[in-house]
Symmetry: none
Subunit: 290 residues, 2 copies
DNA sequence: CACAATCTGAAACATCTGTTTCATCGCTTG
DNA sequence: CAAGCGATGAAACAGATGTTTCAGATTGTG
């Protein structure tokens, strides 16, 4: 690893090996870098509730000679950020060249932000609400997505499973898409995620669902998407990207928003279900506890 | 003098009435606000070539009670600048109240944009490149992700499969994670995506990989993530969200960027592979043609 | 249970910080 | 030229800062 390690890098590297109080101190440093660069050790210590000695030790535990040396590192990082702050407005908007070695991240970030902003501006009042209502009121909801979309459908399902039993991903658990479709009726809904190149499987499913009177909600990427023909509620999300493949970032924002709205509609007990489920996951030993 | 004046404002107002040395000191303060907020009076004095006493007097000449009070003002200004790093996110949030029925989308969009901007701004030069190189040079790369992360790992794999054969998702195609790990050696790499609650499965895989000398790349959400202990290259991506569950949006941007960089490194023939694969998908009738 | 090892904060310490004093300097004004 | 006056830095000062020591607390181990 090169010279240019930041405080946060060092904390990341050493965190696991730190003692309780040292971790506490490291937490504070990571979350309040300005205070560390700016205020005295003793004042940082007193506002963070950790003793001055601990901060002195933290600096050494992170490989600094001194607390002062650590602070110097923080100053430098701050200087860099402030500098890049002024040039950022330019770099993100205009096509002037971003800092060396960060071209790709910078471009992708700019494109995604533009997409998300567009999504937010373009969504007219009530349209999203209508689709979410449809999903919320359905007896059961079938999630369909293929190719690049399948991962996101899985994620959607993962989120909803925390607080609802009505969601099911097509083509999982041995059930075929056809079998899942066969069971749907007018009380149910289907949510399809389809981006170019549009998978035949997804469009066919939508078509079949629509014919059976199933409510259809579609998230897609273009006005010319074949999925739109069968959509009761359609959301077109921009996917512009500097790269050959399109970006799902804005789509993900929409998905997370939909889940939030579903959660809200599910009432206060939904959050309780989540807490309970989380506890269960932990007690099953599925999560790392150190 | 009202509260809301910045140091620079005060200097502008008083500059003409200042003595020679006080002007010199004021010049330095105006041009090096970070040093003033960050370093001691005496060190500022010595690097600027003006005596300590003068700076003490300057603070009072600008209407501050103290030198310390002036510095406090500088700290506050810096804090404000650092915080408003997402003007846009701020604009989204504060531009009057969002239209009825779009509160959730608006909030989520704002939070995600802030996260993406932070990701972009915080990534120091070359760090991302180093991790991508590791992945690119590996004989084979194992992708690991559990719980909420698994969908994104799938997506990653979907993207890379267009132009490379070295990528494999752990726990797919009948192979168990253990079996996949067993086959890895120092020539290989593992890419783990782990967010709170951290899946034991993922961390254990990382630990095992690290012990075998496999290069490890980690994308996680906090400096206290247990995954970091085993990371050769670590990327901490902000996941702030107005909701109870964290947002993967910024993580997705990073993933898409990494894929782009890999694609670039794979040379021009990689894009040809993609075109060919796309054609094949179409000819197999997997996509909708109307 | 005892023993060792480690962690931790209070306190002591030498050093450094910001302010003020004071002697000196340069400049104006009579 | 001399007297007066603000400006200025060296030095003195009280208080704050970062480090280290030390003794008690906590933890893991035999």
């Amino acid at each position: 690893m090169p010279q240019s390690t930041t405080i946060e890098d060092r904390i990341s590297k050493s965190y696991a090996g730190l003692s309780d109080k040292l971790q506490l101190a490291a937490d504070y440093v990571a979350e309040n870098p300005i205070d560390v660069a700016t205020r005295s050790l003793r004042s940082v210590a007193s506002t963070s509730g950790v003793s001055p000695a601990t901060f002195s030790r933290l600096a050494r535990a992170l490989g600094y000679k001194d607390y002062e040396q650590m602070r110097e590192d923080g100053r430098a990082a701050m200087g860099r950020k402030m500098e890049s702050f002024s040039e950022r407005a330019h770099a993100l908007r205009s096509s002037s060249k971003p800092p060396e070695g960060r071209v790709y991240l910078n471009r992708q970030a700019a494109a995604c932000i533009a997409n998300i902003e567009f999504l937010d501006r373009d969504m007219s009042n009530g349209r999203l609400e209508a689709g979410v209502d449809t999903l919320h009121n359905a007896n059961s909801v079938l999630l369909v997505g293929s190719l690049g979309s399948s991962g996101f459908v899985d994620y959607f399902s993962y989120l909803t499973h925390w607080f609802s039993k009505t969601w099911q991903v097509a083509g999982r658990n041995g059930t075929t898409l056809a079998a899942a479709l066969a069971r749907l009726g007018p009380e149910d809904a289907i949510l399809a995620l389809s981006k170019a190149p549009y998978a035949k499987r997804t469009i066919s499913a939508l078509k079949a669902a629509k014919q059976k009177g199933v409510a259809t909600v579609v998230i897609t990427d273009s006005h010319s998407s074949p999925a739109l023909e069968f959509a009761d509620h359609a959301y077109i999300v921009p996917t512009e990207s500097p790269q050959f493949f399109s970006s799902y970032a804005a789509t993900l924002v929409l998905i997370e928003t939909i889940v939030t709205m579903l959660l809200t509609k599910s009432g206060p007990e939904a959050e309780d279900m989540i807490r309970a489920a989380e506890d269960q996951i932990r007690s099953l030993g599925e999560t790392w506890t150190g």
